[in-house]
Amino acid sequence: MAAALQVVAVLAGAPLVMGGMRQVRARLEGRAGGGIGQPYRDLRKLLRKQQITPQGTTVVFALAPAVAAGSTLLIAAIVPLIALGSPLDSAADLFGVVGLLFLGTVALTLAALDTGTAFGGMGSSREITIAALVEPTILLAVFALSIPAHSANLAAIVSAAMQNPGQVFSPGSVLAFVALVIVTLAETGRLPVDNPSTHLEVTMIHPAMVLEYAGPKLAVVEWASGMRLTVLLALLANLFLPWGVAATDPSALGVLLGLAAITVKVAVLASVLAAGEVFIAKLRLFRVPELLAGSFLLALLAVTASSFLATTTQ
């Protein structure tokens, strides 16, 4: 039940997160902004538009948005956002979740290549380069997180963190958190890796890939990228600060509390992220690998720190 609620919450909340972040940025930059509800209005507008198929594209182009959105929804059903004990929890651990995330990325890169336009190829080439370099960091961070829990299953990691709250401030945990923040930024196409609101094609990564989408398909793409950001922020929050996550078989009150907790956590994280974006510029594309190499090093330190600390305490 909680898992279904998670899916619905992510579906419904994703535009809100996007709208909120844009509004925070707008206000900090001295603009009025479109209002928090603007993404909902955009989606409604796009969903009512004509379905346009670019000539020469195949089923890959047509299905990719649904695969990207579907894989994100599945992640929302698996990870413990509101409550522990999703029925799918033992079907996929954190490695499986990372795999699903990449499945969505790959679907969109293939769709971009399918168009055969210059920008499609450019976007997908850049996206896949970044994805390839992000993968080592993510998996090492998963490794670091799984050491205290002795498992890579999400419920185990989150409940281990709940039972031992002080562990959040251990060196391994802090390093893993920083590494995961960097890769979350890279995977969701935020500054400083990619600029989600750019209008300059040559600097684009994600927007270049989806340049050929229009109308309802574009709505799904936008929705999917919003959901991706929401799920990853929520997962990040719960992996390190699992306060308020309801236990297995929760009561209605527990679910409500969990929902409120995750809403607050995501709102805070998203606002901080948006505020931070005001002050930084996009990195040059070939400086991004340096950033990712840095995050890889942090993750490696996280793993060695946690395993050596685990060794000495036993």
Partner: protein, 668 residues
Amino acid sequence: MTTALHNSPTVPALGEGARAAPPAGALAWLSGGLTAALGAVGVALGLSVIFGEPRQLRIGWLLPLVGVRLDLDPLGGLFLVATGAVSIAVGIYAVGYAQRERWARFPLAILPLFVAGMLLVPAAGSITTFLVSWELMAAVSLFLVLSEHRREAVRSAGVFYAIMTQLGFASILLALVVLSAAAGGDAFSTISAHVHDLSSGTKTTVFLLTLMGFGSKAGLLPLHAWLPRAHTEAPSPVSALMSAAMVNMGIYGIIRIDLQLLGPGPNWWGLTLMIIGALSAVFGVLQASVATDLKRLLAYSTTENMGLITLSLGAAILLRSSGAPTVAAIALTAALLHLLSHAAFKTLAFLAAGSVLAATGLRDLDKLGGLARRMPVTTVMFGIAALGASGLPLGAGFVSEWLMLQSLIHSPADGNTTLALAMPLSVGAVALTTGLGIAAMVKAFGVGFLARPRSAAAEAAQEAPASMLTGMTLAAAACAVFAVAPALLGPTLRQVLAVLPTVGGHAAGPQLGTFLRLPGVGGSLSPGLLAAALIIAVLLTLGLSRWGARHRPAAAMAPLWASGADTLSSRMQYTATSFAEPLQRVFDNVLRPDIDVEVTHFAESQYLVEKVTFRSRLADPVEQRLYTPVIRAVNAVAEWVRGAHTGSVHLYLAYGATGLLIVLLVTR
């Protein structure tokens, strides 16, 4: 490197007479049918051994002095099943391929012999039988590689393959002779009984020599150079057999000799395997991600996957000796499962590449494209293979890579510094391999099959005939089993693990049910459930995107945006080279590309460019650094020895007589 090949004997002319007339359909049916039938026998025999009693067979008269000795146990059975299954798919495929590609008679006729050689290797029960079948496999495969020996590239690949495979054989021969002399027996069972008497020096010698020999067969670094040549230039069914079945024999050798007979080895054996495996995996996938030749890309991907398997085997040794037999069993299961799934997806990938090659005559990804509309079935097949090779969920390689990662993260934390450093670095290596593997496979599929054709040949491509499609469908079905129902392989792997006690095989291995559960450590996965849930989620999304459909005008087609130009030409597309350019730039220091940019200006002005010539060449850096000096040294020695060859018959007779005298003196 070609300079080194001048002195080598010229390639024997194969099937000279046969080329005039294309092979009759009958020969294609006979050879393909025989290959598939042999494969079926292999599968049946393998399964009967895995689930039944070990079988033995002695044929005293077939080999002088020792006779042929075949001992089948579950480990050999597993490799019989893998080889056999690959052969079934390839045999059926070869029927159509031989007719469409006018494969010469001689190589076509010896195709079943190659399969027979590969089936004999894991069945061999004694060193002599093992070596004879190994050499049969190596020699026949060389003739098969040379099928199109009229082309210079094929001859060069053939010489490379011949030299490396024979050097590897010499190394294995030496190792096994040392082993047999020290243990006082020819049969594996005798050696196994006396292995405790061996000194550690002998064991180390045998380990290093076999690692070199078997490593070169498995395409591990630094002895991988034959792989991208031979796999690329051989006819595609042969590439599939070599890449999906023959390289496995290298892994089989390492498991049989180093892990089972000599094991449990010291820790540094495990570490050596892990380092070689990790280097091969990362180097192989890096080369694959920048390769523009479709079959070369697949060949480097083989190096990558064999590297991952070797890494897992090394981890199993290390974990076993660190007192974690259950985790070692996970690592071993991961290695064996990855070996099987690699056989499935690599067969499919090479067969699909062969179908593209047959339809277009092209392997160059920069000239392919647009095949999704022209060869839909082949495209779907290659897509399944690429998904498997990239290790993503729903792909054939996902479960085994997941097991691999689980075995690496669950190492015991008992103050073992070696493990505490080796395991995170291995996770990093496996993760980088997976990440770059995704890039390589997206490039192969996205650039090669989607978008618009980049050449007239790709534009005129036509779908492959039915028998080729049938062969590919069988391999695709195997991929599907690995992707969603690895539970079917659970009992088989349990039986095989039971005969490998030296690497934790007797411990409770992972349970491969609907849910994969790992005993002793917390971890579970259900690939089938995950696939079903993903399909439901995608359908749900499709349903949700119908929202507002009532208000929409009728759907329409529209031209793609041509970046402001009048029409979109296929030259505006990204090619494989440009797709991989960012990666090439990031890994500049490792890949060391050779890039020339020449800008020609108009005579009137230095500011107007008349034309720009761009040339980029990616050579294998290991080859350049390691092989070139060796080849140069061999050439120098050969030059020096040539001084003795004056052409005088008397002198040659004197050499012969002296040689004979020396032999007589030595053996007196």
